[in-house]
């Protein structure tokens, strides 16, 4: 499902600035961008162009030094810590280049991580949901496998299933194919495109122009600014 000009704006970044401690130049420098509902946006750029920093700000993993990120009209950068935790639990989902699974939990348990509350156990409905997500990413039958027993592509699929299990509104993917071979990488992009067609909004950071061409819109970054798009 590709975005249309009439689609409502889901995420809006205004004048973002972020300088990493010790760095001379800002990683993100007065940058503006937006994501529309149902859009698959790719952020292209060379190493050090600031694209991952931008993704981490948009997904509320880090805070900018200046600027705003509006999600459904509300500035998430000004929100308290617990509200941003909640946002990452429910509305946002992040997939990293390295799959970042807990090695001692099974594939199913890794998918269930965002559901953990404390002493109250995971419900049967949550378990079913997680199983369905694993099935959706093509991993049925591997629910009880530990990450060490899965291939790189399978691990990335588990990470995507985990990202989607709670019904996230936006999927943030930081170089999701970066550590995979080209065939596996292509299959992951294909999976993301399928998910986008089902209505999921995605922002993907990549340095691969071919993968970027599969998305509905691309922006290119250089020196922390938008060069194109």
């Amino acid at each position: 499902m590709s975005a249309t000009p009439a689609a409502p704006c889901l995420l809006h970044a205004l004048n973002l600035v972020k300088t990493h401690p010790g760095a001379e130049k800002p990683a993100v420098d007065h940058l503006n961008m937006h994501l529309e509902q149902g859009e698959f946006l790719s952020i292209l750029g060379r190493s050090g162009s600031g694209k991952s920093t931008l993704l981490h700000i948009l997904s509320s993993l880090i805070l900018p030094d200046a600027g705003k990120v509006l999600f459904q009209g509300r500035d998430i950068c000004a929100a308290p810590d617990n509200e941003r935790n909640h946002l990452r639990r429910r509305d946002f989902a992040v997939v990293f280049q390295q799959h970042h699974l807990l090695p001692y939990l099974s594939a199913l348990e890794n998918v269930l991580l965002p559901f953990l509350r404390g002493l109250s156990p995971i419900t049967a409905q949550e378990q079913d949901n997680a199983r369905r997500m694993l099935e959706k990413v093509g991993l049925s039958g591997k629910e009880n496998s530990l990450p060490g027993r899965l291939s790189g592509g399978e691990q990335q699929r588990v990470a995507i299933a985990r990202a989607l299990a709670r019904g996230a509104r936006i999927l943030f993917a930081d170089e999701p194919t970066g550590s995979l071979d080209s065939v596996t990488g292509t299959s992951i992009i294909q999976l993301l495109r399928d998910l986008n067609r089902e209505g999921l909004s995605i922002i993907m950071v990549t340095h691969n122009p071919e993968f970027a061409s599969w998305t509905s819109r691309s922006i290119t970054m250089g020196d922390g600014r938008t060069l194109q798009g």
């Binding site: 981490h56 990452r88 639990r89 992040v94 269930l112």
Partner: protein, 400 residues
């Protein structure tokens, strides 16, 4: 699956580290529980031995007296109102106090003066002390027979002369020898033995059965005073005195402070030493746990970053680390308690510090030690867990 599945699975996956930590904590807790028990039993054993050196509580009739003096010349105290000490009632009351188990010996006395005949001297005055021989010998195991035997005085048998013991000085002055038939205030007695000199008042008196002394003093059922030997390793002597005073409102109960303090010093020394060593062990074990947890936090920064990235609050990350430490603490407490009981039994039996010291496994103590160990481990993990909860997700994930 709950939040606590994470520490559980991590502990299982890293089993050599987990096992090593549990082993170190178990060793510490086994030493602590073992030392505590050994010191407790040594303390009790010390005290039982020390009890044989006399009483530490004295119960006397309550009396009011008036000091008479005139022109700087004292005529001494005049007793105005002395309440009798009824022996039967007193013993019943003593047996009912909550700390009765700590009382080892109850030795009542009846003092009276009498006329004695049958020795080398024809007739003389003598101080007679009526005692319960069984209790008295238990109280004064330092008594030794210079002649005759201590065990000879027994219960009165009809028709038989009443048995008696003589102090060393009294026997010498009156020319008494064991087996001799005597007459005290017209009552027939047979001297069972003569005590070796003790350097105390015991040297100058004749000991007779309590009933006889009461009859001679014309005070049936009464006692002049009661000496009590109490074991104080489990409670302060003040508690015992307080309970005895409450049980015997008509009598005066006081602790023989010097005796009690000396006794408690010996008992407390062993226990304080064990406590100090235990504290050092506990602090060392906790320090090891803290170091290990800090190193685990450093190793698991990526995991922590991931937890935070999927929406774990700082409190949840904190709970993961604290619960992992608490779990290890609980297991170590349980294993340490069991090992400590086993080791202490072995040591006590091996060194003959107690007779047939069994495991004496106490479920309540077991739970208390396990929970206390879990709490100590959780407290030790607070700083590392706090440091874990402060890991910023992006920092941890980008760094790798």
């Amino acid at each position: 699956m709950t939040l606590f599945t994470i520490p559980l699975r991590h502990a299982k996956a890293k089993w050599p580290r987990t096992l090593l930590l549990i082993a170190v904590l178990t060793l510490g807790l086994a030493s602590m529980t073992g030392l505590h028990r050994v010191s407790g039993m040594i303390g009790e054993s010390f005290e039982k031995k020390l009890i044989s050196y006399g009483a530490n509580i004295l119960i006397t009739p309550k009396k009011e007296s008036l000091n008479i003096s005139y022109g700087g010349y004292s005529l001494g105290d005049v007793s105005l109102d002395e309440r009798p000490l009824f022996l039967g009632e007193a013993i019943t009351a003593i047996n009912r106090i909550p700390l009765r188990a700590n009382i080892a010996v109850i030795a009542p006395k009846m003092l009276t003066a009498a006329r004695i005949s049958g020795g080398a001297r024809q007739e003389s005055s003598v101080a007679v002390v009526g005692v319960d021989f069984e209790q008295e010998i238990a109280l004064k195991s330092y008594w030794e027979a210079a002649a005759g035997s201590l065990s000879s005085p027994g219960p009165d048998a009809p028709g038989e002369p009443v048995p008696a013991l003589a102090g060393a000085l009294a026997a010498e002055k009156l020319g008494l020898t064991p087996g001799q038939d005597l007459e005290i205030n017209g009552r027939a007695l047979r001297l069972g033995g003569v005590l070796r000199s003790t350097g105390s008042d015991d040297d100058s008196v004749i000991f007779v059965p309590l009933g006889l002394a009461q009859a001679m003093a014309d005070k049936p059922g009464l006692a002049s005073f009661i000496e009590v030997a109490a074991l104080c390793s489990g409670c302060p002597i003040e508690d015992l005195v307080e309970q005895l005073s409450a049980a015997l409102p008509g009598a005066e109960t006081r602790a023989l402070a010097q005796v009690a303090e000396t006794r408690m010093y010996a008992v407390n020394f062993a226990q304080n030493l064990a406590f100090s060593v235990s504290l050092v062990i506990l602090v060392t074990a906790c320090a090891m746990l803290i170091m290990s947890m800090f190193s685990a936090v450093a190793e698991r920064r990526r995991e922590i970053g991931l937890m935070r990235a999927v929406g774990f609050s700082r409190a949840r990350v904190f709970a993961v680390f604290v619960s992992e430490a608490a779990g290890m603490g609980f297991l170590s407490g349980a294993a340490g308690y069991a090992a400590g009981r086993f080791l202490s039994s072995y040591v006590l039996n091996r060194l003959q510090l107690a007779e047939n010291a069994g495991l004496d496994f106490d479920l309540l103590n077991f739970m208390a030690v396990s929970l206390a160990a879990a709490l100590a481990a959780a407290l030790a993990a607070i700083l590392p867990a706090r440091s874990a909860s402060r890991v910023e997700p992006a920092e941890a994930l980008i760094a790798l």
